[in-house]
């Protein structure tokens, strides 16, 4: 089953901390966003394997935008 990890708030992608194929745990920081002059760690809400990364460093994302997909 595919699961999506979304941005909890709008911001610029500063770092993508996982790669496709990585096994990740719930609560693990997967993406670092920069928003309103602060670094906002985005934690995975699920446990699974990363199948696809939807953003690149420097992208601006809105709240609820999909950052990565898990299986």
């Amino acid at each position: 089953m595919m699961k999506e990890i979304t941005a909890s708030m709008a911001g610029t992608v500063l770092q993508v901390l996982v790669s496709e194929g990585d096994e990740i745990n719930e609560g693990q920081v997967v993406v670092m966003l920069e928003s309103m002059k602060m670094e906002i760690p985005i934690e995975s809400t699920e446990t699974g394997t990363v199948t696809s990364i939807k953003v690149n460093i420097g992208d601006f994302v809105n709240e609820e935008d999909v950052l990565l997909e898990l299986e």
Binding site: L14, M36, K37
Partner: protein, 468 residues
């Protein structure tokens, strides 16, 4: 005190002398509360203002406050407030005499200051060469050493390899601070407690420095435990006069960004206070500083102080200095930009009473994450005695995720620190803001803490109170 203010207000009535420039129209290359703050003084002096705004800021008060306003671009800062050419284009189109950069954005960008100057427009700030010198933290440290100003023990040059970093860190002893040379605003610095942590932080800090500041130069400083962050306001004119306007204690921070500031510092002895102010003045004299600047120091438990960095612009917290000195620092910036002498000599500048500033942020008070959204209710009275509100928003405004989450500054004054705290207590309880989260609960907590009441706090104060 009032007399001094009146006297410098009258300066605008004097005919221009040789070497002085007319300042009839100023563009403010900023947004929010600081844009409104600058517009206010300009209008009081009979100077017209030009605001620039992004699509996200169209409805904010500063756009309405300015004489005229121009759209600059899409919400993201790289497409709006950081667009140097567009800012200059509007400045030329409006035939402004000067540009005030405020703080943040282009205020400490030497290329911008140079480009503005090249167009024959006055950049309200120091010359590009000084902005550039102080913007490079490694060079700034070297300059201060030459000026005889104490700096935090640390690397004299930028560090290139992890081996070099480890060797230096071992010689200072852990913990050490790893910092980006082009850094500022609390971004790009990490405290490393061991070689392992330094190894881990080295590459990420370099990468981060590159992406934020376009420069991956890093350096190491010895970590000063239980430190206080104390800065001194300095001011210079184009006639060789330099003064200080006392210190500000900015030790209450979260994520290395200031939250509460006060002056005088409740910690410094009067001897150290005099010494730190004189040292700042000496540093400013050494570089031939002009316009408003702030020299930041880190102060250890024994009141030893070390140069941290110099901000070559108006500081967010300049208001508390204005409260105790009765000087309008924006007015002085305009006078100096116009080529006039500073309106006061060092001995004429006095401080009276105590002032505290609270930075009202749209953020979760516990986790400190920003909280954008629409402001549904906004009660922030501005007519209370001894309270000054520098505000950028109003009811119905939308706090967007594109910029710093600061909404307003609550600045209180009292004859004593205790009076100022009491005024703040009463005021904070009056505030009603709905629709977004704010850090008001944090202020109420701080102001009731025994340690704050006794003035006993250091830069790790907030991380400690939330752990209890």
């Amino acid at each position: 005190m009032q007399e001094n203010v009146d006297r410098c207000r009258n300066y605008r009535m004097y005919p221009l002398k040789k070497g002085e420039k007319a300042l009839k129209k100023v563009l403010i290359a900023n947004r929010g509360e600081i844009a409104s703050r600058i517009i206010k003084t300009c209008h009081e002096l009979g100077i017209e203002t030009v605001a620039i705004y992004s699509d996200a800021d169209q409805e904010l008060p500063f756009v309405k406050n300015a004489t005229v306003a121009h759209r600059i671009g899409e919400p993201q800062v790289s497409k709006s407030y950081l667009q140097m050419e567009k800012v200059i284009e509007i400045a030329e189109q409006e035939e402004v005499d000067a540009i005030h950069p405020g703080y943040g954005f282009l205020s400490e960008n030497p290329q911008f200051a140079q480009a503005v100057t090249d167009k024959g427009i006055v950049f309200i700030g120091p010359p590009p060469s000084i902005i550039s010198l102080m913007g490079d933290k490694v060079k700034a440290r070297q300059t201060m050493i030459k000026a005889g100003v104490p700096v935090v023990p640390g690397s004299e040059e930028g560090i290139h390899t992890i081996e070099e970093a480890c060797t230096l860190a071992t010689s200072y002893g852990y913990p050490v601070m790893l910092k980006a040379s082009g850094g500022g605003g609390g971004i790009g610095m990490v405290c490393c407690h061991s070689e392992d942590e330094l190894q881990k932080a080295f590459q990420t800090t370099k990468l981060r420095a590159k992406s934020y500041f376009g420069n991956d130069k890093v350096f190491i400083e010895k970590f000063i435990p239980n430190a206080r962050h104390i800065e001194v306001q300095v001011f210079g004119d184009h006639h060789g006069n330099i003064v200080h306007l006392f210190e500000r204690d900015c030790s209450i921070q979260r994520r290395n960004q200031k939250v509460v500031e006060e002056t005088p510092s409740p910690f410094l002895s009067s001897v150290t206070r005099e010494k730190i102010c004189q040292t700042a003045k000496k540093a400013a004299e050494y570089v031939g500083y002009t316009n408003a600047g702030t020299i930041e120091f880190i102060v250890d438990e024994e009141e030893n102080f070390y140069f941290l960095e110099m901000n070559t612009r108006l500081q967010v917290e300049h208001g508390i200095t204005e409260m105790i000195t009765d000087v309008d620092l924006v007015e002085w910036q305009l006078l100096v930009a116009r080529g006039e002498k500073l309106p006061m000599t060092q001995s004429e500048i006095n401080s009276f009473g105590h002032s505290i500033e609270f930075r009202l942020y749209a953020e979760d008070p516990i986790r400190f994450f920003p909280s954008p959204g629409k402001i549904e209710e906004f009660r922030l009275p501005s007519n209370i005695q001894n309270v000054r509100i520098d505000n950028g928003y109003e009811v119905g405004s939308i706090v967007t995720p594109f910029y710093d989450p600061m909404l307003a500054k609550i600045i209180v004054k009292g004859n004593t620190r205790q009076d100022a705290i009491q005024t703040a207590k009463n005021y904070l309880n009056e505030i009603v803001i709905k629709g977004i989260k704010t850090n008001i609960p944090l202020f109420i907590q701080i102001i009731n803490e025994e340690s704050f009441l006794h003035g006993e706090y250091t830069t790790n104060y907030l991380s400690l109170i939330n752990k209890r």
